[in-house]
Amino acid sequence: MFSDATRRARVATRPLIGRASRATFRHNGGRGGRTAARLCALALAALASVSSPALAKPHRIVSLNQCADELILRLADRDAIASVTWLSQDPREANMAAAAAGLPANDGLAEQALAYKPDLVLVGAFTDPATVALLRRVGAPVVELDVPETLDGVRRQIRAVAAAVGEPARGEALVAELDRRLAAVEALVDASRPPLRAIVLRPGGFTVGPGSLIDEIMRRAGMINLAARLDVGAYPQLPLETLVMLDADVAIVDDEGFAAPALAEQALAHPVLAALSRRITFAPLPSRLWTCPGPALADAARVLAEAGEATRRARAEK
């Protein structure tokens, strides 16, 4: 009924075309404060619920956002989840696809959410404002998740969602798991050596600018993001010749690997990149690992750290 791209746009956490990080960064100023206040209130309510069991846990939770899906699948009881987005049931796209299988799927539409008579609806920063407004108008309890730009923001979001679903202890455990796995990656990286010079290459020639979560994970893995020194602007698309002349140590290829072809992915198959692979390491990284806040971020850091170690070994042998 709808094209794949339309359905995806409604439930994905970041837009397909690289603008995500900077765009959210900018409008965080306006929207972030409001969301933070709301999440604070929720956290307080959750603290209160520890002492007063009268504050009932939601038991018909609907998520209209891919990353909210992952968090409720990790934090809430399965019985309490009424619906997740269709994107979360695709194992190439989502880390929790196995857990999402069998749950009713939605396309991010308000009417679908309301059909479950939800007592909690989770939406993302990029959910259609008309959808959110409609949900609020009919009185559905809505919690809106931002796209975190730092690991601190990730921890805050995990705790806030845990509070919203009435499982603060599971939230703390999830944050602890993330930190434990990040620490294990950090042990792999020898901080005394100069960091590897790296650049992210996404379909269509998009890269990831400074001030993003991905940027922070690269630092944790012992890499510096070369995009920081380029004037990539709000629309971080790199012409291939800029990429070639950057002379990076590592190119992180953030490829979703769709089965059907598109020009955007053909750019990642350009012969110049094959020629370049004789000089620099291409580290493939499944996009799903660092799309959403959660312990998978540590897996992304581990993939990068291991690619970095392989690069250093190859350099040493030369």
């Binding site: 794949d4 791209a5 012409p239 010749e241 800029t242 070639v244 769709f258 089965a259 955007a264 000089r279």
Partner: protein
Amino acid sequence: MTASPRRAEAGDRPLLAALAGLTLVAFLASLAVGYVRLDLVAALDDAIHGRDSLAALALVELRLPRAALGAAVGFSLGLAGAATQGLLRNPLADPGVVGVSGGAAFGAVVAFYSGLAAALPLALPLGGVAGAAVAAIALYALSGRGAGTMTLILAGVTINSFAGALTALALNLSPNPYAATEIMFWLMGSLADRSLPHLYLAGPLTLVGWALMLSAAPALDALSLGEDTAQSLGFDLRRLRARLIAGSALAVGAAVAVSGAIGFVGLVVPHLLRPLVGHRPGRLLLMSGFGGAIALLVADVAARLIPVHPELKLGVITALIGAPFLFGLIDRMRREG
């Protein structure tokens, strides 16, 4: 009758040499301009001696295919514009206006997004050629021989809109979410990050298309005197039409398959050059080819120099220059008509 074209062709030589020279200059400018500073001499030296430097890679794998495709696509569009205008004896008949480019884009989109081109790379340009041929044949069937400008343009608008809608439909049906965002490339065209394989795929079909169209020069000159005169001079009009439709479908189809549809080049260039060749459509062919190559190379250099990111699509630049030109042309036709 046979002596004068030869004299005229001899007289064309300085003009042709000048256009060819300008094409070379524009080609070199396209090699020299980019997003990073490249020492072209050192890069060329590295490339020739097989040294694996980054500059040599950027020159050979990125700048060279971009410049060569710019020249080839521009040549195809200019030549096909002049040939179509000569065949239909109508100054508004350009592959972009009459829907041949749009048909080519649809054909290439089907070949590419269905996955056919991934299995068989030649399917990409062949898809473009097939789409262009269907559009050209439909145009001829809808407007017929000696049709008025109104009929021709109406038929062209219909084919163009229909092909554009089918292209959007095909992209929407693709299960790859990036596909829907790529309609801009197919409707407006770009040479950003093209590769040598694109050149190898489009090149041979393009050359055959050029040869077919250029070989029709004497017949086009005769046709400008009227169909009866051309026939009495021994030209088979049926074969002429087949040759020009096949030639423009091959050249335009292959061009659009690797660069997207780029409008106005085939319309504007022949008009600018027509007064210089004494309004002889046959003589105009080769010159329009060079003129188109210059126009597209310059537009592509401009695309990289204009500080807008991501870079402007080529069709945007050619339309910004070409549309006012088309308004002027329509105004003149209205006053004369």
